[in-house]
Amino acid sequence: MKQLIKIEFERAFKNKMFYISIIIGFVFMALHIYKYVIPYRPSTLLDLMTQYPEKMSTVQQPGLFMNWIDVYGREYSMVFHFILPILAALPYSMSIYLDVKKNYINNIAVRIEKKKYYMSKLITQFVVGGSVVTIPLAVSFIVTAMILPSIKPEACAGMYVLGNTSLFSYIFYFYPILFIVVLLIIDFIGFGLINCIAFVLAGIADNKFIVVLAPFILYFFDFVISSAFGKAPFSDMLTIRILRIVDLKYFIMYFILLILLSSISYFIRSRKKDIL
């Protein structure tokens, strides 16, 4: 099993589609840093503070926790989060579908148990989905930290989306580093689970593009339906700065639903006698 996971990880991570997904993520991070981090670097700001001390006392100095892409929001963050299910699905989602089509699965099935093969596929699918999201975000956090000082956020600055009704506002204002860690973990798990939708569809769909696009289609479908009913969509909840306490139960339900879908698909396939 360990060996199998290692092979699947190599197929997923040493793969040009993985590099393309990561590079696209880096492009969004770089655009955000160019537009919303570099102009706020403190050397420029300190001049302003010396010239206009009265005006500066009414605004909080921009810092790491104010201007980092996943806290600050704005257009690049929105587009990045919108296309994330496609970026996450690009590197690996086609592999199960192609394993069957190219008969690679026949060679595997005679050597090891089917359930081990599918489990390694599911784990890899999950980890790839999470990595495509968290690697660019973590790198952008480090780059932002190299440009802006780590200034503790103050709720009264009026520059933060997190309010009194936000689920993670307490952690954000009192332990901002912990908030970033929680945010990255939730993004990793959330997009990892969304990426597992491709695993579910790989056994049903008859077209490789549908398999790759399945997580995005579901993600977008949920966005449209939830918005139509005035509820917060899963995509909004995953940008946890806007996750509200009242949405927590729906957030957990989404997670349970995604875990259930992947587990059911895994058990059905593992028990199926015919691998084709």
Partner: protein, 181 residues
């Protein structure tokens, strides 16, 4: 065991990147990080940009208590909170300035408690002090009102609000506040 040359090179490159990143983060925070937040106590003179504030006392009133003290306030608290309950934080303070008879920067004052925050409520302040808009520097003793609107809370609970700790933030760069306790 023989270690491959490429691994050693990769590790060295990673170490260099790590050192550069950590060094840069330390440099930025040492050079540009603002001074730590200063929190003063009540009855202490707090001076910033030529203004001085001294908080004498504070109290939190429910809308019924506020109505009994300042008739007409229930309507303001209910309207501004869109619906349902509201309450008000009243901070009694002395304001002065060394800049002569200039307008006081009252709009910059914010009340904060945990993750809750609000600016001054103009309507409530006008009700408490009809001259509020014309306040000029001098030795003014004023009551400043900050509203708790029920929409700012998941479950509005007056008793919980009353028992929380609050502070009056007078400046954000650098952060200067007065603990209300």
């Amino acid at each position: 065991m023989k270690i491959r040359k490429s691994y050693i090179i990769k590790i060295i490159i990673l170490m260099i990147i790590l050192i550069v990143c950590i060094g840069n983060i330390i440099f930025v925070n040492k050079k540009y990080g603002i001074e730590p937040k200063k929190t003063y106590k009540m009855n202490e003179d707090v001076t910033w940009n030529g203004y001085t504030i001294n908080v004498k006392s504070y109290e939190i009133l429910s809308e019924d208590e506020a109505e009994a003290r300042y008739p007409g306030s229930k309507k303001i608290l209910t309207n501004e909170g869109t619906s349902g309950e509201g309450s008000v934080l009243i901070v009694k303070c002395k304001l002065s300035s060394d800049k002569g008879a200039v307008s006081l920067p009252l709009g910059n004052l914010k009340a904060q408690g945990g993750t809750w925050t609000n600016g001054l409520s103009r309507d409530m302040n006008l009700l408490i002090n009809p001259e509020f808009d014309k306040l000029k520097a001098g030795d003014n003793e004023v009551c400043l009102a900050f509203e708790f609107a029920n929409v700012q809370f998941v479950n509005y609970n007056y008793e919980e609000i009353k028992n929380k700790k609050y502070e009056l933030v007078v400046s954000l760069t650098p952060v200067i506040s007065i603990a209300l306790e």
